[in-house]
């Protein structure tokens, strides 16, 4: 089976400081990967670098999406190629309604693919269908992007946008942070509904909790900018029980 996302020896940093020190990761269609790790291990840097956040500088290595070199593309073209990032802290854009925002996004992608803009009627219909995935009501369309949204609504809104854009690879960065149990269930339910054997999901999280709802095929542990452990779902349970200290010790001892 063809690799959907292939990251090889990826190194990246911010303000001259190296944070990712050689990441290797292969994601195939239909898979769910969880990336876990203690604070400061580089989880959010990894998602930012893959999405093209200009704050980060790539220092080496490669990343491809379905064979396309991601690192050579602008952030918007990475999006058009099918990469989606659910933000840990979704950004508020006052005055820009969700309907205008999503229309601009959808039509930019269609333009990239050489398609005509979507008609208003089709667009609104699609929006109606997709917001149901995360149980957002019809007020969503006229609300400004993330402005005045509760923490839970912001995360649901991220998954709604994912539903609209139908990415090949979605990276969910700490999507569970700040969610109560009901919101967590809705968000996770949304992600599961969007899962097909053509796409893949990378779940970045601190806690096992989210993985009760979104079942990973692989769990990776990121520490000091490297993936130091890869296992099945049981690895997450082990972490929940034992914390990260044993991992840290193991890695730090090796380094001595």
């Amino acid at each position: 089976m063809e690799d959907l996302l292939k990251v090889e020896n990826l190194r990246a940093g911010i303000d001259g400081k190296e944070i990712l020190r050689g990441i290797n990761l292969t994601v195939r269609p239909g898979e769910v990967h969880a990336i876990m790790g203690p604070n400061g291990s580089g989880k959010s840097t990894l998602s930012g670098v893959l999405a093209g956040d200009p704050r980060f500088t790539v220092l080496g290595g490669s990343a491809t999406l379905a064979g396309v070199d991601l690192l050579g593309l602008s952030p918007e073209d990475r999006s058009h190629e099918g990469l989606f990032l659910s933000f840990q802290y979704p950004v508020e854009i006052p005055g820009v309604t969700m309907v205008n925002f999503m229309r601009a996004a959808i039509n930019a992608k269609r333009k990239y693919l050489g398609l005509e803009p979507m008609s208003a009627a089709d667009f609104l219909k699609t929006m109606r269908q997709k917001r149901a995935v995360v149980e957002l009501d019809n007020k969503l369309a006229s609300r400004s992007v993330n402005e005045g949204f509760s923490g839970g609504e912001k995360k649901r809104n991220e998954i709604f946008q994912m539903a609209m854009l139908e990415p090949r690879v979605a990276i969910l960065d700490e999507t569970d942070s700040g969610l109560d149990i009901d919101a967590l269930r809705i968000v996770a339910g949304g992600v599961n509904k969007l899962k097909t054997d053509q796409n893949a999901t990378i779940v970045i999280t601190h806690y096992q909790r989210l993985l009760d709802y979104i079942k990973p095929d692989f769990v990776h542990i990121l520490y000091k900018g490297r993936i130091v452990h890869t296992g099945g779902p049981e690895l997450a349970l082990e972490l929940e029980e034992k914390g990260y200290d044993w991992i840290k010790q193991e890695v730090d001892n090796e380094q001595i």
Binding site: D53, P54, E76, V91, I93, G95, Q161, L165
Partner: protein
């Protein structure tokens, strides 16, 4: 290091590029014009009046204004850097040559019609489709007023100022200069002396004007000034919505535009005045462009009358303009909604004055300034409450959005309250488009230039929503054009 790596562009460069839109209306039309040679003296004033076949009282009005103007110096109090203007180097009158006064659209110079078409104002179409009555002023002369017959049935007068002087001299004489006296300021005096044409609107008692009235102004000839004069009178319980659009071709030299708009609103009458101003702004280095020095003021004379100004200002090298309301009638209402965009080397000093004289008068001011490039954008406002005005309410919201590190946004609000029952609120914000917002849009597939247009339009929405539909669409495009780069 990966050779193909996408190099994150310096944020300021992206915005710089995204805000360097080309002026789309910079064509000149090759139309025969009658021009009075450059220079200004009493003879020129007399010649203008003569060319227009004006009555003696109007010539006297002009001469009085001119003599007063001679005693004045240009104002320097605005937050503007205005190069010295040689008033003798300007031609004060340019009219498209008439063959035989056109009586129907077929007789209008096809080149002229083409000019308006390129401005996106197909007269013919507007006449047929939109139900909008249009008066178009090219350089100094009003070219054509559509829909006059239909309006006449309702007793509505909508014609060029020159025609009004000849056909409705009593009305014009009664109201001319009553709201903006020629002694008001330097440019008001100049305009009163040399005004060439403009529009005149009279809505009789109890009549609701069934369509938007619209005037398009365009400066075409080189080295000419445009000094139009608009007078709108809404009699008791009348209603009218009036739209004004402005464009000018690209020219190396600066062109002077000094207009006066006077509005009188009688008892329970309402006037909505909307402007989309897109005079040529000069090039990126600040060469050329229109100096837009305009005095706009309305008098809410009648009780419970209402005047609402909406303006979208994207053009001009320098804008100096404060559409104001004198709220004299009891319970009268004044509104001012403004979006002012400056880019490159543009300068704008704009705002409003709300003069509360009557009791229970209310006013609302919403000003949205957007500055990019090396531009300077100032809001200047006055809220004044007279001693005898009881129960006055004012709400002012004054927001600035900065798109570069080299532009300036300034606010000069003055609140002068002489009656303790007044409630006056002032809110102000300054914000920038953040890198986080741009990246969020990028991640969703929206390119930076489009993202900026989206965010700016969102920011200005509250004001844009006040514009009539056709204008709102045009204004939205204009915002995008002003701020978007030439996307490949």
């Amino acid at each position: 290091m990966n050779e193909n790596q996408h190099k994150p562009e310096d944020d300021s460069r992206i915005i710089e590029r995204a805000t360097s839109g080309e002026y789309k209306y910079g064509f000149t039309s090759d139309i025969d014009t009658d021009i009075i040679p450059a220079g200004l003296n009493e003879d020129v004033v007399r010649r203008i009046s003569e060319l227009k076949g004006e009555p003696q009282w109007l010539l006297d009005f002009r001469l009085e204004a001119f003599r007063y103007w001679l005693t004045l110096e240009p104002p320097t109090w605005a937050h503007l850097d205005i190069p010295p203007i040689d008033f003798q180097a300007i031609s004060y009158y340019a009219a498209p040559k008439k063959k035989e006064g056109p009586k129907s659209l077929d007789e209008v110079d096809p080149q002229l019609l083409d000019t308006f078409n390129r401005l996106g104002i197909p007269l013919e179409e507007q006449k047929a489709l939109s139900g909008m009555a249009v008066d178009a002023v090219l350089d100094s002369v009003s070219v054509r007023t559509t829909h006059r017959e239909r309006l006449a049935e309702l007793g509505i007068v909508f014609c060029s100022f020159s025609e009004a002087v000849l056909e409705y001299p009593d009305l014009v004489r009664k109201y001319l200069g009553k709201v903006v006296n020629y002694r008001d300021n330097f440019y008001a005096a100049l305009n009163s002396a040399v005004f060439s044409d403009g529009s005149f609107v009279y809505i009789p008692k109890g009549v609701r004007c069934p369509m938007e009235l619209s005037t398009y102004f365009r400066i075409n000839s080189a080295g000419t000034g445009q000094f139009e004069r608009t007078l709108i009178v809404a009699d008791d319980e009348a209603y009218v919505s009036y739209l004004e659009g402005c464009t000018a071709p690209m020219r190396d030299e600066n062109q002077l535009h000094a207009a006066i708009v006077e509005i009188i609103v009688e008892e329970r009458a309402e006037v909505k005045y909307s402007t989309v101003q897109n005079w040529y702004a000069g090039d990126a280095e600040g060469r050329g462009g229109v100096y837009n020095f305009v005095t706009k003021r309305g008098l809410c004379r009648g009780d419970y009358s209402k005047l609402s100004w909406t303006q979208v200002e994207t053009g001009s090298a320098i804008t100096w303009k404060y559409p104001s309301c004198i709220l004299a009638g009891e319970g009268s209402v004044g509104e001012f909604y403004s979006v002012a965009v400056t880019n490159n080397r543009q300068q704008a000093d704009t705002g409003t004055k709300m003069i509360h004289i009557g009791s229970n008068t209310t006013s609302t001011i919403v000003s949205k300034g957007i500055s990019a490039g090396h531009s300077q954008n100032s809001y200047r406002g006055l809220v004044k409450v007279a001693p005898k005005a009881e129960g006055v309410r004012n709400y002012t919201q004054c927001d600035s959005l900065l798109l570069s590190g080299t532009c300036g946004a300034h606010t000069f609000p003055v609140i002068d309250v002489a009656n303790s029952s007044a409630v006056v609120e002032h809110e102000a914000t300054t914000s920038k488009i953040s890198e986080d917002q741009i990246f969020y849009c990028n991640q969703r597939g929206i390119p930076t230039e489009e993202a900026i247009a989206l965010i700016v339009n969102g920011y200005a929405k509250e004001v844009m929503n006040k514009l009539p539909m056709e204008f709102a669409v045009e204004a939205q495009k204009l915002l995008a054009i002003t701020l978007e780069g030439s996307v490949g």
